[in-house]
């Protein structure tokens, strides 16, 4: 008799724990060929609010860590992903319908991107900050600081590389995030959250909700304790993007607008995804004896 396999329950990732949706709702996730894979948790408004609370709670500690420490932790995430490479390849094949060799390239790129961003942790300050030569006897220095809690709508097509490409730049500088995964391809995001949970990333720094960006997005865009909104994941959805940007204006969230189409994630990302969620702080002090 063939052995019956043990299936995994795919859950949300909030505050370092793996709860089911508070609502008790789930939705069917199929593979790229339409075959049933799992019932994923369908995140509710309450789940989104819990995730924001967890992200806010984690912000002080995470942003207060040394840049060197955040670099080490992001590098550690890359290490654990590499360790689970076959699992991610399989997840990408299943979700995106890529050939095994293409999926391998996608996973490699995602791991390498984490390594790339890890290195930015202790360099971005020097690249975007600096001393200002004011016309007076003052020490004057500008440095970047994280914006705070960032709500991220993750790309719909690129379930892993796209996800890593929006999460890593936000957290490497000290922000904490609430991420809504791809709706139809959420499973690599859940597996990624299991990597985060075992990579010294403090609970609450990354919170991952599986479900609909169109449903959860408005709650996050209108949440007064969210400081910024990344709309990359709703590329091309102009009406929804406009509504979310309007809602975000209530507490003047920084908004990274939705592109017309999902970007090619294999291109050099540049620093824009990091600087979108940085504030410049300028400190003055008199010079004298």
């Amino acid at each position: 008799m063939t052995r019956l396999d043990v299936r995994k329950t795919y859950k949300l990732y909030i505050g370092g724990a793996f709860p089911r949706s508070e609502s008790g709702h789930s939705y069917v996730v199929n593979d790229s060929k339409g075959a049933f894979v799992a019932n994923a948790s369908l995140a509710s408004r309450k789940d989104a609010r819990d995730a924001v609370t967890a992200a806010r709670k984690a912000f002080g500690g995470w942003s207060g860590r040394t840049a060197y420490n955040r670099a080490q932790i992001l590098y550690r995430v890359a290490e654990i992903m590499e360790d689970r490479r076959p699992q991610f390849v399989q997840a990408v094949v299943q979700s995106e319908g890529l050939s095994a060799s293409k999926a391998e390239r996608v996973v490699d790129e995602a791991i390498d991107r984490l390594v790339w961003y890890a290195g930015w942790a202790d360099k971005i300050t020097q690249v975007v900050g600096g001393a200002n030569p004011v016309a007076g006897p003052f020490f004057n220095l500008s440095t970047p600081e994280p914006t705070g809690v960032v709500a991220v709508l993750a790309p719909q097509a690129s379930s892993l590389l796209g996800l890593v490409s929006v999460v890593a730049p936000a957290i490497v500088t000290g922000n904490t995030v609430v991420v809504v995964s791809s709706y139809e391809r959420p499973l690599p995001a859940v597996t990624f959250s299991e990597v985060l949970a075992t990579s010294d990333v403090p609970g609450g720094v990354v919170n991952i909700l599986t479900g609909s960006a169109a449903t959860i997005g408005p709650w996050l865009a209108g949440h007064m304790d969210v400081n910024a909104l990344d709309l990359t994941g709703i590329a091309g959805q102009t009406a929804l993007a406009t509504d979310l940007e309007v809602a975000a204006a209530d507490n003047l969230k920084r908004v990274r607008r939705a592109p017309a189409a999902e970007p090619d994630w294999t291109l050099d990302p540049g620093t824009g995804a990091m600087t979108a969620f940085l504030e410049t702080k300028t400190v003055w002090h008199p010079i004298g004896v």
């Binding site: 030569p133 500008s142 309007v246 209530d250 003047l252 504030e279 410049t280 702080k281 003055w284 008199p286």
Partner: protein, 475 residues
Amino acid sequence: MTSPFEYAPAPESRSIVDIKPSYGLFIDGEFVDGHGKAFKTISPATEEVLAEVAEASEADVAKAVKAARKAYDKVWGPMPGRERAKYLYRIARIIQERGRELAVLESLDNGKPIKESRDVDIPTVAAHFFYYAGWADKLEHSGFGSTPLGVAGQVIPWNFPLLMLAWKIAPALACGNTVVLKPAETTPLTALLFAEICQQADLPAGVVNIVTGAGETGRALVSHPDVDKVAFTGSTDVGRAIAKAVAGSDKKVTLELGGKAANIVFDDAPIDQAVEGIVNGIFFNQGHVCCAGSRLLVQESVAEEVLDRLKRRMSTLRVGDPLDKNTDVGAINSAEQLARIRELSDIGEQEGAGRWSPACDLPSNGFWFPPTLFTGVTQAHRIAREEIFGPVLSVLTFRTPSEAVEKANNTPYGLSAGVWTDKGSRILHMANQLRAGVVWANTFNKFDPTSPFGGYKESGYGREGGRHGLEAYLR
């Protein structure tokens, strides 16, 4: 307490300024009639009518945007950076040459003391143009590329009329954009004099356009479809409305909005210096400053001493004629603003805070409010939460540094903060912990063209000044 000093009046002559009876809009290099309802601008110190100013209708705004687009496509965009730089240097020089004239006009129209417009506003305006002039041919080193956006629609407030114009126009032009700027309806005159300066400098027609008017004109400008960039300084409410109006568009936006800055005084601070800093923080420019230190957080152990000395110092502030060279505190900019300051101050009293002002004779005409402080203020009081934008200080106390941080950050705003202490490591700790775009340690209200300015949270986004200020005008 009677003052040991008696001052004879020392008014600056206003004969240096030639104010015309009426002004049109400045579009495509010429002054033209507006098609809205013309309005009067008055001196807030006397309520004397200074001039009648045209109101730009939606069609006038469209005409200005069209002129700016043409100038961008045909002249300013294609012009080499080093040539643009020379125009900006030329403008900076003319501002220096006509500095006194601009200062007198600013004090007349705005109500601020001549010593502030003469020694702070106008020199900083010239410095800002001089600074950004030098960037025009060095943009490839900026880190933001060197491609301009196109036409910038800019809306500025009445508290630093010409300085805010400089903060908007200088970087926009340096980066190769053309602009349509709307000055505040109560302070349009120095912007119109700036238009004449552009003519004197032979700046090509359409590169700078000035449209006067109120909220409707501003709305028409920021929502015009051919505007590529919106820059606004003003209230958080209007900032929110602008953020909603541009949602879903490709317009790049920077917003410099309100504040409720904490000015934190520790027990080891040099008290006399701190008192000067507190006075500068809240009474500079009648408190019409978005980054004003409107919440004094003083450590409990020195609260009594600080308050005693602060009251003594406030008693020596001279409130009155903005054109008098000895005046410290000028007129409130408008009847509307005075009403808001009065309303919030009355609410402060009703909510139980203790109100104090020095004895001072206020002129009978014009809009005046005495320097005022409130003691016994809690974080729940409206005067501790809402921006008053006037010479009103709320005093709160704290015991530990962490309590000071918590209270300072307990606001939806995040524009600026002040720290007064003798201990260097504490300054750096506080500077790290405060969620504000500008932190002044053992100083306050310092500005420089090289130093980026702008807020966290609901104080807006984007930076003005320095290399950082170029980002808003490049793609």
